[in-house]
């Protein structure tokens, strides 16, 4: 009797280890709470509502989805980039048929912020633009400790670019683009040449990038297909999706590591 108990111990220990490891694995990536997942608890209710309203309007109009996430830390991941792409891919932000998703991610203890851009939005939101959104609309508020306001600015910037691309007007919900896009640069001269150069750059790289995801359509698809343009049932997983919109799961979009990060 005693002998069998003892021989069972290592087996039990091993089992417990496996269960613990599996638990830890699952804990690494939290489940979304909605379009705004404030795990760090730094966003006010009003700011969360503003972002949510804008993201729902954006999704209604363009099919693109944006997730806002705050965490205390991105550990055990090595960098905010690794955490960002893992989370975005796991949640599947954006319509699966277009990979039109983006995540705005704030890590409090590392004091880092990142915008992760899905394959389908890389043409609209090349890394340079994303960096400009962070520099101009997010960082100023974050540096002064107004976390929610910085995130609202980021969502407004992302939505501004996507809305302009799809030729829809979401300004009533706050969508806007950073100043450089409309021609006025911050301080130094040489604006028109810079803008022209930037436009050429965007055309050159943005154009090429747009097609790359198409090469891998087959390999990256999950079985489930979210809706495309403006279909309200795109997420459909939890079956809500009434007229009021509301969060009903993300569409299943894919991510390849595009975007930009900043410390603050």
């Amino acid at each position: 009797m005693k002998l069998t108990d003892r021989s069972l111990l290592p087996v039990l220990a091993l089992l417990m280890l496996i269960v613990a490891a599996a638990g830890a694995q699952a804990q690494q990536l939290p489940a979304p709470e909605g379009y705004v997942s404030d795990f760090a608890g730094v966003i006010s209710a009003d700011e969360a509502l503003r972002m949510q309203t804008l993201i729902e309007a954006l999704r209604e109009a363009t099919g693109a989805e944006v997730a806002v996430v705050t965490v205390d830390t991105f550990a055990p991941f090595g960098s905010i980039e690794q955490f960002g792409v893992a989370l975005a891919q796991q949640w599947g932000v954006g319509a699966a048929s277009q990979d039109s998703g983006a995540i705005l991610l704030l890590a409090m203890s590392e004091r880092q912020v990142r915008i992760e851009v899905g394959y389908g939005l890389e043409g609209v939101l090349p890394d340079g633009r994303v960096g400009a959104v962070l520099d101009q609309l997010v960082l100023p508020a974050l540096r002064e400790g107004r976390w929610g306001e910085g995130l609202v600015g980021g969502v407004e910037g992302i939505a501004g670019y996507i809305a302009a691309e799809y030729d829809v007007d979401l300004a009533q919900y706050g969508a806007r683009a950073p100043q450089t896009a409309t021609g006025r640069t911050g301080s130094s001269g040489g604006t028109s040449a810079e803008v022209l150069f930037f436009l050429l750059l965007v055309m050159f790289f943005g154009g090429g990038r747009f097609f790359w995801p198409l090469l891998f359509l087959g390999s990256r698809r999950r079985g489930y297909f979210g809706g495309g343009f403006g279909t309200r049932s795109a997420g459909g997983v939890f079956g809500s999706g009434g007229r009021s919109g509301g969060f009903s799961g993300f569409g299943g979009g894919g991510f390849g590591g595009g975007g930009a990060s900043r410390g603050f």
Partner: protein
Amino acid sequence: MRHKKYTWLIAAAVILLLLVGGFSWYVGQRNALIALEESVNGAWSEVDNQLQRRSDLIPNLVATVRGFAAQEQQVFSDIAEARSRLAGAQSVSETAESYQQMESALSRLLVVVEAYPELRSNQNFIRLQDELAGTENRIAVARQRYNNSVQSFNARIRMFPASLFAGGLGLTQRDYFEIDQQARSAPQVNFD
């Protein structure tokens, strides 16, 4: 006599059944292997794409930096050399090697840039740096996905039963995109 005839018939039917079953099992195995190999190929072409994209970014980056720091000839020629080596790389290991060379040349460039505050605050440069950082991250993601697909492919063809006929199908183990951690660590910069 009649009894024996039936036995033969049954034996023949069983053998036929085994043959058909075995054949369809083999076809299934074979198709699964080919699908796995194709996923390795797909993952590799994504790595290749992102490496190419970084190469395409470099002329703009170099032109911008040159406008402010024309005298830093050494780092520019290092980058040009790494770029041409990447273009000529054939195998996975050659690509990985030239990738590392490029990585260290670029990080030397970014160290050089530190000495030019005007350049660092230049809007073009900030954008190019974002593009570069984003592309590096895409390479890292593509590389990890490639290595994962190689792992499942290699494991499959080495394990029974696929190990029996993988060689006959011309399927051999694929190389990982390995990075020498030592070479990746911060480059030595000499300001003399």
